[in-house]
Symmetry: C2
Subunit: 356 residues, 2 copies
């Protein structure tokens, strides 16, 4: 048994013969250059169709010698290390296609400052980009910005959160509702037969975090109707966070499992470790180093990863394939909802794509 | 805040100027052609170093116009559909690089027939391949075959199972021991507080399956020392399989969780469904359609995926980057150990790489 697949080449010469014209004319049609009569153009196009010719898009792109300027706008990695991995994905994709004259500028915003977001959007337009990558905030200015890009025919991609109405070229991110349902199912496996548990919120303006909690609560409500969900809201850098948690523990001795829906999981895990608490365990999001440390110690029972590197890489990849290679792009790219424990976390592929 | 990364181009002209030679000489050095004096070669190489020049490997590969013949040898997808996904990955990678004149021939073997394996290996050598992809069986003939490839400088990659001593160019597959430990941890979350459960073996000569069970037993032995592990061995197509399982159920009413370590999980799941059994649940491997069906029905509580598409794609990708682009290759590529339930299985990325 065997199966053959060959990428046999159709030569320009074959096309010219079939169309009854010169090699030069075929070349002009293939590369969209002038000085070909309408009649010859039609004959060449017919020949291409009959020969099932696919142009060598890499060769065309290299030959064009154009420069492409992409601009990305994401939350600052200094304030949330999670975004450093998105940034790495963006950079790795640019590096992978370095032979095609791509350049990328990254601009960052402070998620707590609408002003820094608004200013950054204006800066992006000043750059006159060929393509835009955006982690969008739900606001009127985002709508205006994207409308402006559409008018100028500048393709844009979304990552992390999607705003469906704005019809981006592509979206890379997690289905946050399903992610929350999955988190609930796995939490109940860990927490059962307990009936009470705690959700810790962090004060972040994040649509993703909000939707995960909606999915989580839906699942619990439907499958474990007798459960009691407590909640606390803390700020990641608040020095009083430990006091708030200590106070909660004293008042709720029957709670032993804590759920968090963002990458600051380690803030609660550190509290558990520093206080020497042995009857609290927890779940959270994102494979950041401080989270992994507590995952391996068993304080965090599992993390859900959402592939930030892949989101960054994918957005550049999509712009490259759309703008440079002129290929069709998949509109929605949901990231896997991946469960990681102490046993399998070392095999998590940060970089789902092999780059050499 | 912003960060710039540009792929600014160094022109051949700049190199020639720096080396004090002609553009023609630089071109000859870059493409390894003759007719350059040793002295000029050294000056050009020095200039390349100082300018931090990286050649455009895509352009070089396209210009060379060479053909590359790869051959893959894997178990027959007709006998085990799992291998169809490996095959799809191989084909997709060839298609992705179709502009570079790659061809791939796939040969298949019957895993129950050492003879078909041995014959196939001989056929592969007859093809005079430029690169080889192999799902290896642990046998003397594999050693001889790989030794022969090494003598002829033909690079080869392994997928599914690795044989470390043979020093393949790269390996794509799962760490099966850790996979088994992870399976045990998740099974115990599902099965607890039960003390007895069942492992169903399928008669397949698979190193992977064997090692997973070793990891599984290790974990249980260490963390749940009072547990009783029963085992049954059935053949996937044995018409008496249901009788064997029915008999077991009657004798062991305290068993309610079944573990399997290969893609034939659905054989047991079908038994559970057809008999209308409600007090047996199970886990297994691989995101094949019949398995996913029972996963969504809740009979299979979770599957562990091992990314067969990615294994196939990665092996072609590695050969392409090594042979055509002459880049360095990562030696070991462990696949993620990915847990899939009814909630998150729709977001499993069969194709971890986006191909447009």
């Amino acid at each position: 048994m065997n199966k053959n697949k060959s990428t046999s080449k159709i030569r320009i010469k074959d096309i010219a013969e079939k169309a009854g014209t010169s090699i030069g004319s075929v070349d002009r049609v293939l590369h969209g250059r002038p000085n070909v009569s309408e009649e010859v153009r039609k004959r060449v196009e017919q020949a291409l169709k009959e020969l099932d010719y696919e142009p060598n898009r890499y060769a065309s792109a290299l030959a064009s010698n154009k420069n492409y300027r992409f601009v990305a706008f994401i939350p600052s990695p200094e304030l949330e290390p999670y975004w450093g991995e998105v940034s790495q994905g963006l950079q790795d994709a640019i590096q992978n296609y370095r032979d095609f004259n791509l350049s990328l500028e990254e601009l960052y915003y402070d998620i707590f400052s609408p002003d820094s977001y608004n200013k950054g959007l204006k800066q992006m337009l000043d750059r006159q980009p060929d393509g835009v990558i955006l982690a969008p905030q739900l606001s009127a200015i985002t709508y205006n910005f994207c409308q402006h890009l559409k008018e100028k025919n500048i393709p844009f991609t979304f990552l992390d959160s999607n705003i469906h109405d704005l019809d981006a070229l592509t979206f890379y991110g997690q289905d946050s509702l399903m992610s929350g349902r999955f988190a609930a199912r796995m939490s109940m496996l860990e927490a059962a037969p307990e009936k009470e548990f705690l959700i810790v919120h962090f004060d972040l303006p994040s649509l993703q975090q909000y939707n995960r909690e909606v999915g989580f609560r839906e699942f619990i409500h439907k499958n474990y109707p007798g459960s009691v969900i407590h909640e606390l809201s803390i700020s990641p850098k608040d020095p009083k966070a430990h006091e708030v948690l200590t106070d909660f523990r004293e008042k709720h001795p029957d709670v032993h499992f804590v759920c968090t829906f963002c990458s600051h999981t380690h803030v609660v895990a550190r509290f558990i470790q520093e206080k020497g608490i042995t009857d609290w365990h927890m779940m959270g999001y994102d494979m950041l180093d401080p989270n992994v440390k507590y995952l391996k110690q068993g304080i965090i029972r599992f993390l859900i990863a959402q592939h930030p590197w892949q989101q960054g890489y994918g957005c550049v990849d999509a712009l490259f394939h759309h703008i440079v290679l002129k290929k069709e792009i998949k509109r929605t790219n949901f990231m896997p909802i991946e469960l990681l424990t102490a046993e399998n976390c070392d095999y998590y592929l940060k970089n789902a794509k092999t780059t050499y």
